[in-house]
């Protein structure tokens, strides 16, 4: 650390000299003032090298001293890739250089720089592609040379960084809080519009912030107006990342107290693009040596942070900004040893030095000793918001910059400030005010005809891109102008191709600093003009954004049955099943399954989808949705139904009961609850709007309890209030409504998913727990116990009941799983009918069958492949469990139709290696295939 380079207080400085802070840079303590960026504090302490370049590991210092600076990306604590010229110093901050090993001062990887010219464009492609087998080795080594900081893994117990999202609906969004943006925002708000004003820097003001006393006075005036005008919300340290369809603007907000980054999704009615201009570097030999800075960088350092950036300066200027920087330097006590005026043909050929500029060689042959070289050679127009909104930009030689194609600005998009013209501050502010009023009018605020936006003058500027020597074009990717020339010579003669080949504009700066120079160098190499070479596309995001901000806060809503708290109190192991959290088992799924076979178990089946159907035309709807016939379903009866999509593929299944003359309750799979409802609505709303049917989803209106087992009738009889549950009065596949344990309005259907005598009770949800506990209390002597989902899956597999989506897939038609008996092709129409007609006429291709592994203890994993005698793939296991009832392994599987006969042996390829023989069974059901038990 050398002596302080801090100047006496400057009129526009943003540091608070009363608040002294300390932070560390590469493990050494440094002082700072509140308001300092990491880079300004280090520069004030005399530091000049902030990083090593990506390919050649050359020392790099500040270039733009702004958020776009490619040379000062650092690691702050656990956070990689922090932009040191933008991030404010906080007390105790642990800042380290990235990409340098063993240290920033002595980087062994700089040997690649000694070989400088030997890492040409496409070097990695050309060198490491052969032999291909060695690529993994190359990759491991090359990774050590790769760029970027270190992402810390999440440590248990540490607080994860919080991210946030916000939706806003401003009338007018103004992107850019410089003088034009502020004037546009004030004018729009005064017209009655709600305005969101977004500024990337830490404060409003743009270039006025580092301006002269007159500009500072204008800044204060504009800031006061913004503060005094109702209807303007200001977001600083925030940046518009891109404009999406229908003027949805993604804004990244930083600098919040408890949130690392927030993604603000702004749906605007009008967008004012006022980002200002980005100063361009000049391409010449040594243009990346520390001490070669843009004029705007020096103006920031001197005026905002009171930092003297050097002692002896040479200035290359082509515009008033460069001239103003000369004045700033002189005021800061820097000796301006020479001013090269590019407007009069002056030029810089080379900057000499390695870790610091030592001298500059001029075109006239002079060599001037200095430690600072400023360049002011023109502007890049940030194009992202124009191009992402659907607009385009065109290059103008006279002004040496790109302009938005003004007559063809996308609908609702306006532009103000430096991106559309030059002129005095008064002219720019007045113009922006009219733009603000026009935007407000477009957003529906104000009245009368939209104001006519005047033209701004456009000042001529010499075309200055590359000088007489070759230098760095893309600082973040370490791409030189020579690399671009090489790319053109190798045939990559379009901007988009050369960009991908050399990776120019593809680094963290994303073209903000280098894109125009890339185009100019390519144009020169190809022998064409810049417009003929074309532009590279500015894509979102405009500024770096963390994945955390895009992902937003972690929200994964889970549905819970009203019985879930009971399950948790009673030792249930949770199972996340689709949107639901369910009890997988209560410790012993085998015992639970046995309870159902031998006594009685109760299972929480609340997630089963339930649709309440009412109206005279319900049978028409059911006939259309299901392959079965429904016209003759009597009141009090229940039927199992299968629905297919229009391609004949099984979509869902479930039972439907007729509760009253025009009242049905239909059940769907848990996962299909929402989609079946939408499926029904789509038929009713598009094909048959005349049918009188109301479909109401009631899945969560009921707690659903399956009561299953040989003792289930006894148990049900003890809790029902007014339902006769005797075998004669309430037979299999019937439905009743009535009261249970004092709860009116329950639905009971007698069905048997588990293969046992069983009932499904649908109880108004608020009383579900009461009925559940009453069942347990009243059935103690019957051996009742709560049974989880795992036992239910075992039981249904023993019974051979398929699960849609597990035993079927996206190609499975009703015939493939043995459900053809349900398909009523004599119905005129139902979803998928034509496909099922043709399917019935075709030969079987595959079947769902029962499979018993020959080794009773081998339970092949679900999804295991089946192979035939010749070793060809012939199907897969869809369900498998060890059956406590049969005390052996049982499976369902889809096999080729030729292998579906009972007794056929197939081989299961076990995921852990080897094969297991399995035999096709006679029935899908392994237990009670005749269905005696369910009808008991």
């Amino acid at each position: 650390m050398t002596a302080t380079r801090r100047l006496d207080p400057q009129p526009g400085e943003v540091i608070d000299r009363r608040q002294r802070l300390s932070f560390s840079w590469n493990a050494r303590a440094y002082p700072a003032f509140a308001g300092d960026t990491i880079a300004s504090a280090l520069a004030a302490s005399g530091e000049t090298v902030f990083s090593r370049s990506m390919k050649y590991h050359r020392p790099r210092g500040l270039l733009t001293a702004s958020h776009a600076d490619p040379n000062c990306t650092v690691q702050v604590g656990d956070e990689p890739n922090v932009r040191a010229a933008h991030r404010l110093v906080e007390p105790g901050m642990d800042v380290r250089a990235q990409d340098a090993w063993p240290s920033l001062a002595f980087d062994v990887k700089a040997v690649t720089g000694l070989a400088g010219r030997f890492l040409p464009a496409g070097f990695y492609y050309k060198t490491f592609i052969r032999p291909r087998s060695l690529w993994p080795t190359y990759e491991r080594v090359l990774r050590r040379f790769s760029h970027g900081g270190v992402v810390s893994p999440h440590r248990p117990g540490s607080e994860p960084q919080r991210y946030d999202k916000r939706h806003v609906h401003p009338d007018v969004l103004v992107a850019g809080g410089g003088p034009a943006g502020m004037a546009a925002a004030v004018a729009a708000a005064r017209s009655g519009a709600q305005v969101l004003l977004v500024e990337e820097d830490h404060a409003l003001g743009g270039h006025l912030r580092w301006g002269d006393p007159v500009e500072l006075a204008s800044l204060a005036e504009l800031r006061d107006e913004v503060a005094a005008t109702d209807g303007i919300e200001v977001l600083t340290d925030s940046v518009a990342l891109g404009c999406y369809d229908h003027l949805e603007v993604a804004v990244l907000q930083r600098g919040l107290a408890h949130v690392h980054e927030r993604l603000v999704k702004a749906r605007a009615r009008a967008l004012v693009v006022a980002p200002g201009l980005i100063e361009r570097p000049y391409v010449f030999a040594g243009n990346d040596v520390p001490g070669v800075l843009l004029s705007s960088a020096v103006r920031r350092l001197v005026n905002l942070y009171a930092v003297r950036p050097g002692d002896r300066a040479v200035v290359l200027t082509a515009n008033p900004q460069g001239d103003a920087a000369v004045a700033d330097l002189e005021r800061a006590g820097v000796e301006v040893v020479h001013v090269v005026d590019a407007r009069r043909g002056g030029d810089v050929v080379r900057a000499v030095g390695r870790s610091r500029v030592r001298a500059v060689e001029l075109a006239d042959g002079r060599r001037i000793d200095c430690d600072l070289l400023l360049t002011a050679v023109g502007w890049t127009t940030p194009a992202t918001l124009f191009t992402t909104a659907g607009g385009s930009l065109g290059y103008d030689r006279r002004t040496a910059r790109f302009w938005p194609d003004a007559p063809r600005l996308p609908d609702g998009v306006f532009a103000a400030g430096g991106v559309v013209g030059d002129g005095t501050l008064e002219q720019l502010v007045e113009h922006a005010g009219v733009v603000g009023r026009a935007a407000a009018r477009r957003a529906g605020a104000g009245s009368g005809d939209p104001p006519v936006v005047p033209e701004l003058p456009r000042n001529p500027h010499p075309e200055l891109f590359r000088g007489r020597t070759h230098g760095i074009v893309d600082f973040s990717e370490d791409v030189s102008s020579r690399d671009l020339v090489t790319a053109v010579q190798e045939g990559y003669s379009s901007a988009e191709l050369a960009k991908r080949y050399t990776t120019a504009t593809m680094g963290p700066t994303q073209g903000k600093v280098e894109s125009v120079n890339v185009l100019a160098v390519l144009a020169e190499a190809i022998g064409r003009t810049i417009p003929e070479v074309g532009t590279t596309t500015w894509r979102p995001p405009y500024a770096p954004v963390t994945l955390g901000a895009l992902a937003g806060p972690h929200r994964d809503p889970v549905r819970r049955s009203p019985l879930q708290p009971w399950h948790e109190r009673n030792g249930a192991v949770p199972l996340v099943a689709g949107a639901w959290i369910r009890p997988d088992h209560y410790g012993d799924p085998v015992a639970e399954a046995r309870t159902v076979r031998e006594a009685v178990g109760i299972i929480d089946v609340t997630p089963i989808g339930k649709l309440d159907l009412r109206g005279p035309d319900v049978p028409k709807l059911l006939n259309l949705l299901y392959v079965n016939r429904w016209s003759r379903l009597a009141v009090g009866r229940v039927r199992y139904g299968v629905m297919c999509a229009e391609d004949g593929v099984v979509l869902d299944d479930g039972v439907t009961g007729r509760l009253g003359e025009e009242h049905y309750l239909t059940s769907t799979t848990s996962g299909g609850a929402a989609s079946v409802w939408e499926w029904a609505e789509s038929w009713l709303q598009t094909e048959h709007p005349d049918w009188r049917v109301h479909v109401t989803p009631v899945t969560t209106a009921y707690a659903s309890i399956s009561v299953a087992g040989p003792r289930s009738r006894e148990l049900i009889a003890r809790v029902v209030d007014d339902v006769d549950v005797s075998a004669d009065a309430f037979p299999y596949m019937h439905v009743r409504t009535g009261g249970i344990a004092g709860v009116a309005g329950c639905v009971l259907w007698r069905i048997g998913f588990t293969g046992e005598l069983g009932y499904e009770l649908h109880v108004p949800a608020g009383h579900g727990l009461h009925v559940w506990e009453r069942l347990l209390a009243r059935g103690q002597d019957l051996g009742v116990r709560a049974v989880g989902i795992e036992a239910q899956r075992v039981l249904r597999l023993e019974k051979g009941h398929l699960i849609v989506g597990q035993d079927t897939d996206g190609l499975t038609q009703a015939h493939d799983v043995g459900l053809e008996g349900l398909v009523r092709l004599d119905k005129d129409d139902f979803a998928g009918r034509p496909e099922l007609v043709w399917r019935a006429q075709a030969a079987d291709e595959r079947r769902l069958v029962g499979l018993w592994p020959r080794d009773e203890a081998t339970v092949p994993a679900e999804g295991s492949q089946l192979v035939d005698a010749a070793g060809r793939l012939c199907g897969r296991i869809t369900s498998s469990r060890w059956s406590p009832t049969l005390r052996r392994s049982i499976c369902l599987g889809q096999v080729a139709a030729s292998l579906a006969q009972s007794g056929t042996e197939v081989r299961v390829r076990l995921p852990e290696g080897g094969f297991a023989a399995a035999v096709v069974t006679e029935h899908l059901a392994a237990v009670d295939p005749e269905g005696v038990r369910v009808r008991a």
């Binding site: 369809d245 229908h246 659907g390 939408e678 789509s682 598009t686 709007p689 005129d828 034509p834 043709w838």
Partner: protein, 85 residues
């Protein structure tokens, strides 16, 4: 994300809707040939320009809507009920 001008709820973010895609009339299932039916199932015009689409306002009024949308410019014309009554 585009805005869908729901006739019941006003302009709403497309994320609230389910996208049903280009509307293809359903052939008569009793007379359709396999070719005709599979055109209906799988083949879409995929035009560059104005297209008539189905959207379902899943997180709103739960109505199925007929929407005219320009697939090139993203313009959307006022939407209507799936079947005008």
């Amino acid at each position: 994300m585009i805005l869908i001008p729901c006739p019941w709820c006003g302009p709403r973010d497309a994320g609230e809707f389910g996208y049903g895609g280009e509307i293809v009339p359903r052939p008569d299932p009793r007379t359709a040939t396999p070719e005709r039916w599979r055109d209906y199932l799988y083949l879409r015009a995929n035009v560059a320009g104005w297209q008539t689409e189905r959207w379902y306002h899943r997180m709103g009024c739960r109505r199925l809507l007929t929407v005219r949308r320009n697939t090139v410019t993203g313009e959307v014309r006022p939407a209507a009920e799936a079947v005008e009554r």
